[in-house]
Amino acid sequence: MAQPPTPAARPLWRRLVGFNLLSAVLLGIGGYYLGWFIGHQIDGKSFAYQEKINENDVALLLGYFFGVVGFLIGLGFANYPVSRLLGRPASLREKEEGGIGRYFGLCTDHKVVGIQYLCGIGLFFFIGGLNAMLIRTELLHSNPTFVGPGQYLTLVGEHGTMMMGMMTSGILGPFANYFVPIMIGARRMAFPRIEALTFWLLMAAGFILTSTIFFGGFPTGWTGYEPLNDQAVMGMDSYICFFALVGISMTLLGLNMMATIITMRAPGLTWSRLPIFVWSVFATSVLMVLAAPMLVSTLLMSALDRTIGTSFFIPGGGGSAYLYQNLFWFFGHPEVYILALPGFGIVLELLPVFTRKPLWGYRLAISGMLGVSLLSFFVWQHHLFVSGINADLRPFYMLSTEIISLPTGFIFLCVMGTLWKGRASFSVPMLFCMGWVFNFLIGGLSGVFISDTPSDTTTHGSFFVMAHFHYTIMGGLVFTFFAAIYYWVPKMVGLNFNEKLAKAHFWLMFLAFNSTFMPLFALGMEGMPRRVSFYEPKFQTLNIWVSVSAFVLGLSMLIFLFNVVYSLIFVREPAQRNPWRAKSLEWQVPTPVPVNNFEQIPVIDSDPYDYGTPVPIGGAVGGPQTAGAS
């Protein structure tokens, strides 16, 4: 992080006035109370009465709405449209100069936004993780003795919603925003202001979800199924508002990524030379743009059900609870691939660097990712195999779900092919990639059981499903998230991590992760449902084992945090420009990356996987170099 010379020092109070985070927070609070007040006028009932019974959804939703609007105005998002309306000249950039202050406000430099995303998402990832620790503490005993059943459900819901909502941008937010423009030889994203907006929307959303504890929490888990949703107290509105904002943020992020990748590639960077990570970002963006609006409209409908008395989803009023399930999973299944696909990209991007080989099966990998994207829109009713909806169509959803393992298999083949006779060095990012291979394999193979309707009869809604998606999302996404952190953060901040601590983090996390989630397959198969705070005493021992493992998993995260503080704040060992000897474009620019990325836009004449010794025509794979060492 460079510290360009700051403008002449002004008095502190003068610097606090203006469009910055402080005004944003103040305007946000002001907006919230404005909405709260208007809501009570509309509802026409006494203020105090409504406050007591915790039921004025109109006031809370309006409060959130005006709060977010005030927050964004305070940050300065309205300045540009207003100045354009007043006829001032167009500009593409805002507040890209200046010191550390850039990171605390609206800044259109994609590198600043990337780091903002990393810290912001990291914060909420840890809040979500703390929720998980509390959940596991409650499950130490077969009766709810720690936080009680109501608070337990709120913890479950907040953990799930936080992770599913925030971590959708877990890789695209920090790493795609930071590196996609550099990898494609561009100086910025296509829509820099929208890029900043996606981040600040997400932060507002995260705060709103956390605020649910002040309004009674919500009992529905991350799926928000109706009619339980309609029955719930005001805390449910926090869920609705959170996910709607996340949906808007995701849609905009996806559009921005697509526009950038399509229009801003450097000369010579054809589609067949695009780094595979950029391809995975592209596939993910397509999913985001197509799936997330569905979520926003579904939540709008459920907000209307809760406030003005429509009955889209209320069976007693002529609506259908099936409709909600259909709409939600039409978003929800692509959503889980939005989480998984960037992980594919990171593994395939990193493997060539660490095995010193070109990516094996580049086109196969691309077709795998695009295939997953396409198919993910045809599988959603496998979440409803026992619900009785369209029961005759179950063979189709069984088939489409199982077919998804074809493109996913492509990715595995490419991973295996790249490893074949490579010269792998097991640095920390590589270790996390290897962890991904194992975890995602278990996640994928357990998916075969739940994709099969007869087998799913037992596993549906049990801990088996929970273990399955933690293997794909935590084992898939979060492991690659850390791979990306250890791989790219030295470039982003110009400082190295302590490798011993990083290795300890990996091994503890890998072992504790498997020790936490592997037994859950057994628990689910043996008949323990999800999201319960009561269970039979016969499951006690295994649950204690799982909880203790989960605490160790939490401990591994603390090692990571310690490493961040120790290496990046205290030791501050400068990173080399290209420590991994990588050939992709982002490693060729100086560290720290200049504001404009490139002095001159590069001209690309090959893909970035130009590793390895050429193989003699028609001949053996192992050249003289490779033969020597084995």
């Binding site: 009992p219 009619p227 792998a424 394999l441 009869t457 449902p529 705070s533 001949g619 794979v621």
Partner: protein, 285 residues
């Protein structure tokens, strides 16, 4: 499939052949263990025709997954041991960018596996009359012969059971006669629940306003667990009960006793119906 890996050369061992041998041996050793040792003890046991069917399905799926699991895990270990950089090394690997025949055969083999899985699942689902899962108001396949209809009514936070062939009596516990085909009609009075009779291999969502049908024939006299497996609010975890599979005579005795005990209640119950739609929820507006 690994026998088609790129040919090795130079002074190196023939990695492709070596790995293929390791994988084959491991698979041959593991498969009988999975099928004959692990298979019979797989959940959910042999309490009913559908439960036994699911045990078979789980065994088949596990037997299909084992070679794949071994392939990738052993490959990973093999690669970590063999294809590594020496300490501080800067060696480059071979610049191989693909292997068309291997890629094609991988696609064909995985496609065959996946399609056979889907065909197998479909056949088992439809010949198993929904395999114990909730199959909606009009199941595609229905077992022939006499069936005992039982309505499962879910509400926050308990299941009750209504027997239309026994005067519409509504009981608070569930007993089933062994060896008789049961036709569950699962519905809900409020939010979505899910009726899960674990040892019977039955799971069907209880949706308000929907009649969700599942078939099962209990084959073993035993106690079974009933859970709610769809999050339904505060006491979801406590929505738990034990049911019993009993002999025919014992069942007749039990149900007649229930009819006697609940006679006052039965008189004021609404007439038996497929669903009981509640009034629109009151939320204070």
């Amino acid at each position: 499939m690994s026998s088609e890996a790129p040919p090795a050369g130079g002074g190196e061992p023939d990695h492709a052949r070596r790995f293929a041998t390791i994988w084959l041996v491991a698979t041959v050793l593991a498969l009988p263990l999975v099928i004959f040792v692990l298979g019979p003890i797989l959940p959910p046991g042999n309490g009913s025709d559908t439960a036994s069917g699911q045990v078979t399905d789980n065994t088949v799926l596990l037997a299909m997954a084992t070679p794949v699991l071994l392939l990738v895990v052993l490959y990973l270990l093999y690669a970590i041991v063999n294809f590594r950089q020496g300490a501080g090394g800067v060696l480059e690997g071979p610049a191989v960018r693909g292997h068309p025949q291997l890629q094609t055969s991988w696609i064909l083999i995985t496609a065959t596996l996946v399609l056979s899985l889907a065909v197998y699942g479909t056949v088992r689902l439809e010949t198993g009359y929904g395999a114990g899962s909730g199959s909606g108001p009009k199941p595609l396949t229905v077992p022939s012969g006499p069936k005992l209809p039982i309505q499962v009514i879910a509400q926050q936070w308990a299941f009750t059971y209504r027997f239309p062939t026994y005067g519409g009596v509504e009981t608070t516990h569930l007993e089933l006669p062994v060896g008789e085909e049961v036709e569950f009609h699962v519905t809900s009075l409020d939010v979505i629940h899910s009726f899960w009779a674990y040892q019977l291999g039955v799971k069907a969502d209880a949706n308000p306003g929907v009649d969700n049908i599942a078939f099962v024939k209990p084959t073993k006299i035993q106690t079974f667990e009933v859970h709610c497996s769809e999050l339904c609010g505060l006491w979801h975890g406590g929505m738990f009960d034990h049911g019993r599979v009993v002999s025919d005579a014992e069942f007749e005795g039990w149900i007649h006793e229930q009819q006697r005990i609940f006679a006052p209640a039965t008189r004021v119950l609404p007439p038996y119906a497929k669903t009981y739609l509640p009034e629109p929820t009151e939320r204070g507006h």
